[in-house]
Symmetry: C2
Subunit: 456 residues, 2 copies
């Protein structure tokens, strides 16, 4: 069996800790013995423990490539959507990769799973049994259904037909987010929670692509990706399947998608700098800022702070954060990249004058920023820790903590950390946008060779 791990989501429901560059699955808030790990790190580790990691690819979007490499290692196998076009195109792209690039047989069973279930290893063992279920039941799709523990209004339900002699059940219909009363009725009729895990044979998805006149070759599908219809896997595949079976799972499963469910799994009441009065019962602080948070007399709440903003929410109300913030657009103030990270310390626009952006930048030993130039800004770098090599104006120089480098508009520059390097960068210019960058070369050996030639 092969797996596709779907890493999606823009993550407004866990604002301000999650943002467009760092969805909820990347937050390092979960306890794993001595250290903290993110949801995606937990699932990736569990896939390895279940012996499934080597047959898994991660389907994701361009925006998440940097952070996935940062958290799972630079060799993690990624299928990268050029842009977000809903779940069916994402699954189709990964399936076409398995078909035309990995050359898997059309009879190969593929399981798709979301990146954010909070489960133990039994869940992954159960997923492996989907392969047999699919083959034995001759179904188009085989799903995992989670035995409900209460009449939740938040989940989708899988309604099954009467019990069979097999360990799987036949699916009769689906019901999304019922009322509590409906949910209780469904559960009494042997319904299960839909946890978003489903399996199919490669030939089934290939036949759907063909029927929809879509390319089945990965390269071609990728090329035409931005023209594909935005359509969900549920709508394009699940609703049209003739026979669907479901494998029940009777273990712990949680969706940590909102602050109330996520904080349930956090051992400490305070993450980061914070102090909570004794009468502030069941209140959590999640603080990524350097300044402290004090909470006094506030019960059943979450206070979450990052460089993007500060949220103070009642736990029960916390799923509504997405609605409150819907018109709220903001550039992320902290980002992880494959070469390191940066945080924005200050941004000021002087009316009728220049813009100034001050950043603290960390570059991991061995990593480098590409050789690049800007057309509308000067950059002033103060090296504050570590040492490395600077490429500037086609020359290579050794730099170390304490050095100050002024990079005028149009000047070619790049930097490589030989030891973990930190920089305070002041950008100064007419229009400070991420797009004002011309990347000349990202390979440091080539940059050095180039500088040597030009410098002669």
């Amino acid at each position: 069996m092969n797996l596709i791990l779907l890493s999606g989501g823009s993550g407004k429901r866990l604002w301000p800790i999650s943002n467009d560059a760092r969805s909820k699955q990347f937050l390092k808030l979960l306890n794993n013995e001595t250290n903290l790990e993110s949801m995606v790190q937990r699932v990736w580790r569990q896939l390895k423990e279940a012996g499934l990691q080597s047959s898994t690819v991660i389907a994701t979007s361009k925006a998440q490539v940097e952070i996935l490499k940062s958290q799972l290692g630079s060799t993690v196998p990624l299928i990268i959507e050029p842009e977000r076009r809903d779940t069916f195109p994402a699954v189709a792209l990964a399936a076409s990769y398995m078909y035309s690039k990995k050359n898997l047989s059309l009879d190969t069973v593929i399981a798709v799973l979301p990146v954010d279930p909070y489960v133990n290893i039994d869940f992954f063992n159960r997923i492996q049994e989907l392969e047999n279920t699919l083959i034995k039941s001759h179904a188009d799709l085989a799903l995992v259904g989670v035995k409900p523990t209460y009449a939740s209004e938040k989940y989708g339900y899988i309604v099954t037909k009467n019990k069979s002699s097999n360990d799987y059940l036949e699916v009769s219909r689906f019901k999304e987010k019922p009322s509590e009363y409906e949910a209780a009725t469904l559960i009494s009729q042997n319904a299960y929670w839909n946890c978003g895990v489903f399996a199919f044979k490669l030939k089934y998805i290939v036949s759907i692509l063909e029927a929809r006149n879509m390319p089945v070759q990965y390269d071609e599908l990728l090329k035409n990706y931005n023209d594909l219809e935005k359509i969900s896997f549920d709508y394009a595949v699940v609703e049209k399947a003739e026979k669907i079976t479901m494998l029940p799972y009777n273990g712990e499963w949680k969706d940590l998608g909102t602050w109330n469910t996520l904080t349930d799994e956090m051992e400490a009441m305070v993450s980061g700098k914070g102090i909570i009065s004794e009468d502030s019962v069941n209140t959590h602080i999640i603080n990524e800022l350097d300044i402290p948070i004090a909470v006094l007399g506030i019960k059943n709440a979450v206070v979450a702070a990052s460089y993007d903003g500060i949220l103070v929410t009642d736990k029960i109300e916390s799923p509504n954060i997405k609605k409150l913030m819907k018109d709220f657009e903001q550039r992320p103030m902290y980002e992880e990249r494959h070469w390191g990270w940066y945080k924005i310390l200050d941004y000021t626009k002087y009316p009728g004058q220049k813009e100034v952006l001050t950043k603290r930048i960390g570059i991991k030993a061995g990593s480098n920023l590409s050789y690049q130039k800007h057309f509308a800004r000067t950059e002033i770098w103060t090296i504050t820790n570590g040492y490395g090599e600077l490429a500037i104006d086609d020359q290579i120089k050794n730099i170390k903590a304490g050095d100050v480098i002024t990079i005028p508009i149009g000047t070619k520059h790049g930097i490589k950390a030989l030891q973990d390097l930190e920089i305070i960068e002041v950008q100064y210019g007419n229009q400070l946008i991420d797009e004002d960058i011309l990347r000349l070369n990202t390979d440091w050996d080539e940059v050095k060779a180039l500088c040597k030639v030009n410098y002669k």
Copy 2:
């Protein structure tokens, strides 16, 4: 009549907006027609409107000199305690100034008032009547008593003798913070709130100084200030007075010393960047940060954020913030100075390596930083707005936005803003402390003359 305005307090009860350098009276949160003003700005304006400002001096400590000049103007008359030694030494120092420096007659009536009552102009008119009250009643002290509006447990009470034919009453005793029941009983017995306003003749306080073997000459008292006994005005004077009269005041008077009372006087629910859900009834946001605050489903609370920290408190519980933060020490992250302001953007200490402090600094047009040098740090200045003059290494240079100046350890430097000037400063060194500064000269004309001579 002459007045002493007492500006004291370290302000933990309004943390994190107030700090040691910015007590509650300096917070610009009160509405004055089109702009916001601080408590001290409001009282200073009201003193002017009542015709009392020109006969008022402000008794304060060294720590508040910069911000008082910034908020009230550089010519504001200040009597500066070398260090905090409670209210009796503070009043005595100001009185000795009036006696030996302003040469006021010993029969001059002096009124002392705190800087933080929230009142209208009638209150100040009533204060002026203390002069007549003191003279007519032949009392040692004359106080203003505020007619209570409810049985508060937070205030001190002035208990008076039976009604007289005068508009003033004779004081029989004081009662600090009674229980609600006691307070109600006191009010039924014609007790008043003690608002901290009292008047005396200059000769009365001079005689007490003499009786305590303290100097009556300002210069001498100032010189010996740090050896004076720490004793409150209440204990040293009020409790020992033979006859005290009280002038009732039957108008609005509020103590805005805690978040619940202060927010009552704020018209807007949100000050700074913030968004509050509709169900968050009676919740205020006070946000001095550049990042937004979102509040969801939290009632009767205050969320206050500054570069010092973030407070989330129930309004009723808010007076307890002082207790919660009692062991909490922190350097202020934002400070106003007479020449402008600065905020700390980032502080990092690299283990076994250097410390780095990044600041954004604003210097007001016409102001300058002293000509100075440091012994343990390099500074890198990027001028981000405005223009001015730089004195460095005994040379004068014109500088403007976009310039970068590196100031190595031991290098003399100073800067004057000819137009409002902003700088991103990166400090880099072994030990970044405020004390690492040798001020060579604060007078810019002298600095320029010196540079001219040395540069020849």
